[in-house]
């Protein structure tokens, strides 16, 4: 039986010529940008490593050995050497991708939704509600983000969950500010007036008229925050406020290896190099996205 026979007869809507649309054009532009594609490939590889980590590691990242401590890069059986407890660096770096990316991305995702919602509401409604929300946000904004993250983490206590909460709290005001300023620009456009004139309520207008115009810039800004988040998360772990040993996480590894910097400088620098590569990839991706979205036709 033909599927179409099951549907009630509806008047056919003729097909129309379609333009690729704004997001289609942005996608096309990114696809033609070799730098964006390169960093996207790096990020995809890291994400794959984060997912497949436990199955992909060549050795056991938790086995310690007093006799194989701080071996140099290229040692038999330990391609990237060993750490201060004789654990395989390659395995630990690979497995560490999971926690480090998780700590970098999760707070930013939460901040994107919470801060975005706060900012869009403040920007759209304006007036006293805007003042109330934004002045409250400004209080948090007044502190340097590192200090704020440490203060929250210290108050909540060590641990991954508390570190995530404190990082989210650090980023919410930043995202809210961007969201508020973009929304304030959009809400004074005539098409918002026209939508109000057609009788739509505030939340219908936000959903169908505002979000499409503000999500892009907010998204780009938050993508850029991922690198900051990773570095802050590493910093918290470094200070003993984030991930607890023996879990492998780049910031924590950097901390424990720092005493070996004079004996094995290259091995000690490896976690830092991973943090650097990852954060710069997210930064460059955010930058290229911004460039692709800025072009006005």
């Amino acid at each position: 039986m033909n599927l179409s026979m099951l549907r009630p007869a509806a008047p056919a809507i003729a097909p129309v010529e379609r333009s690729p649309g704004y997001w289609g054009e942005v996608f096309n532009r990114v696809c033609r940008d070799p730098i964006a594609l390169a960093v996207a490939a790096v990020i995809l590889a890291l994400l794959a490593l984060a997912v497949l980590g436990p199955w992909a590691v060549p050795g056991d990242p938790f086995t310690t050995s007093m006799f194989k401590r701080l071996k140099p890069i290229g040692t038999e059986g330990f391609p990237l050497g060993t750490d201060e407890l004789g654990r395989d660096m390659l395995s630990r770096l690979m497995l560490g991708t999971r926690l480090s990316l998780f700590m970098g991305i999760t707070p930013v995702v939460f901040a994107f939704f919470i801060g975005g919602a706060i900012g869009v509401v403040a920007g759209y409604f304006g007036g006293w509600l805007n003042s109330l929300i934004m002045r409250t946000v400004d209080v948090f904004y007044a502190f340097p983000s590192v200090l704020l993250a440490i203060a929250f983490s210290g108050a909540l206590g060590a641990g991954v969950n508390n570190a995530l909460i404190s990082l989210t709290l650090v980023f919410v005001p930043q995202v809210a500010r961007i969201a508020e300023s973009v929304t304030t620009q959009v809400r004074n456009r005539d098409y918002i007036e026209a939508a109000r004139a057609s009788g739509a309520g505030a939340f219908t207008i936000i959903r169908s008229q505002v979000l499409g115009n503000v999500l892009g810039p907010i998204f780009v800004f938050t993508t850029g925050l991922i690198s900051v988040s990773m570095i802050l998360a590493s910093g918290l772990s470094f200070l003993g406020l984030g991930v607890t040993p023996p879990e492998p996480e780049w910031g924590l590894m950097l901390n424990t290896l720092r005493t070996a910097i004079y004996t094995q400088p290259w091995v000690s620098a490896l976690p830092g190099a991973m943090i650097f590569i990852t954060s710069i990839s997210f930064n460059v991706l955010a930058d290229r996205l911004r460039a692709a979205m800025a072009v006005r036709s």
Binding site: A10, P11, I13, A14, P15, V16, E17, R18, S19, G21, Y22, R189, D190, Y191, E193, A194, A195, R196, A197, S198, G199, A200, T204, S208, Q209, G212, N213, R296, S297
Partner: protein
Amino acid sequence: MTQRDIGGPAQPLLRVEKLLKHFPTKGGLGKRRVVRAVDGIDFVVRKGETLGVVGESGCGKSTTARLLMQLIQQDSGELVFDAMAVGGHQLPLREYRRQVQMVFQDSYSSLNPRLTMEQAVAFGPSVHGVSQREALQRARDLLGRVGLEPTRFAGRYAHELSGGQRQRVNIARALAVEPRLVILDEAVSALDKSVEAQVLNLLLDLKASLQLTYVFISHDLHVVRYLSDRIMVMYLGEIVEVGPTQALFSAAQHPYTQALLTSMPSMDPGNRTRVSPLSGDPPSPIDPPPGCRFHTRCPHAEAVCAQAAPQLTTTGDHHYAACLMVQPGAGHSQSPPAGLIYTGASA
């Protein structure tokens, strides 16, 4: 479209009573001052007519439009739509906004850059409960009706269209909720002359076929004359003259209207304007002059004009002007004697 006409043809479609909007000025020390953007105006829009609204920039035309659309809240005054108070239980604001729509001046910023033209037009109907499919179908019908081939334009975005095409989409969008009154706020002013003429003719066609009523706001007197049945002249937030187009153009009563008419560019090179009929800018609406607001620029001003504020006085069939020179017994050397009452039909 059941029971569209409530009060019968003689009932004005929209009655505006003592409409007043003052904007507070920002900053400054001492007492707060206000911009008297619209300062207590009364007028009616009759069923099926086009009411032209003219005046210099800053005279309150656009504020009036936004008040009529209820995009901003008036400080005082009332709107009565077909004998129902706007915002009352008979006609809640949401229902009023289905009956009244607006076309804005800037065709680009009044279209959402992320929506296709059919989505933009279909938004209004879907807000009012029409199914998505039906709303899109209606959008395409309307795009065709305003002269844009749906298969070519329905899937396009605003930046791919010309100014004239975009304004056609805006007109379609306004018509999508089947309004009875359409407010056109400088809707053709940003278009070049040939496109403007096409859009004006489209507006005339649509008005006839859909039984629309227009409030047409413009600073271009030629265009207003072409489209309007009646014309209302505004100056510094007040109405200075209102009357049928023919009467207003042939026998303007208010010196300001006369000045506006003489400032119209003429097609006849032998008849071109040599001296500017008015000089300077209008006074600030923050501190309007006392008495008649026009007396600082009026060639016929006398001492009394700075003291007494003129009332809208009838000077002929449905023709009113707010000038002491036409107001009986007002004290101006040219005013008619007190007690003289024009006996023609009233508005």
